[in-house]
Subunit: 184 residues, 2 copies
């Protein structure tokens, strides 16, 4: 597997986690180095691409990867997913598209998921305004590595308010971290 992710911590963590699951992972942090690495590989079953690589865009790697390894499963992992970008990625051949607070389980599931993914799951409309708000907050908070002040600024609300809101909800937030829900 090839991992392209610019957040050092997350990259290492993913590499280790996937490594322990039996994946031989090559990790890079940019489109350029990813391409270089790609050229040296003789086999590639999967790729995990971050969309947001500084100025670059992980999308750019999809085609080169598939050109060389047509059967490679390309997974997109991004902080703020959007429908248009998900469509763009999928059209380019991505196998699946995940938004960032993704657990290892999510990633593995996304890899396995056959194209036969009949699951029309039909989310239909779970439009509880509060939940949506909460999820967004979690996403932003995660993006800022838990920095409440920063997240509040980006969200456009007062730091104190975010703080108060967070306290109200226990928030599971065991996202990517350590895939060991066992320990308390």
């Amino acid at each position: 597997m090839l991992i392209i992710e610019d957040d050092d911590a997350l990259r290492d963590q993913l590499q280790r986690a996937l490594g322990s699951r039996g994946w031989l992972c090559h990790a890079e942090n940019s489109v350029a180095s990813g391409l270089t690495r790609l050229a040296t590989l003789s086999q590639l079953d999967a790729a995990l691409l971050d969309l947001n690589l500084g100025a670059d865009n992980g999308l750019a790697l999809i085609e080169p990867i598939l050109a060389r390894f047509p059967r490679c499963r390309v997974l997109i992992l991004t902080g703020y997913g959007s429908i248009p970008s998900a469509v763009a990625a999928t059209r380019r051949g991505a196998h699946n598209y995940l938004t960032k607070p993704a657990s290892l389980a999510d990633i593995l599931a996304a890899l396995d998921q056959d194209t036969a993914q009949q699951t029309p799951d039909l989310p239909d409309a779970p439009p509880s305004l509060e939940r949506l708000e909460w999820e967004h907050i979690q996403r932003v908070l995660d993006e800022h590595e838990g920095n409440i002040s920063a997240a509040a600024r980006v969200l456009g609300i007062h730091r104190r308010t975010l703080q108060r809101r967070l306290k109200k909800r226990p928030s599971p937030s065991d996202y990517a971290r350590d895939r060991n829900p066992a320990s308390s």
Copy 2:
């Protein structure tokens, strides 16, 4: 073009609007009738499918359509889009995926958009909490045809509150309706 949409008003409106743009539209309101209609066609350049057809799912039509008319552009139109469903639709061959408050212009643009859609647009993160909230409200409101009471119930907030919030924002919302922004 083939339009499958279960909201009678929207269906007619789309048919008319697209008709006036030179598209010969066949409109149906269910997967079953869509399949039947499909069998009678000898040519099909585009399809506009609602994902939410009562108990059915518009996704089911993508494959039959493409099997018969491989070059047909399939557009998905849905009230509540989600990334997973967008990915599923695209993987099945949909050309693009739109969420409901979509204007005619959006639809036409989505149809034209060549796969060459290089636009990585990189929405990166426009996470203003308030905006997200507002957009969601608009979506839900639209889904309930402007019925404030119903929307408030679904959103989980008080009707009065929704009402007050709506009054504060002029809300452009010229979405699909009538493509005639001219009249007041």
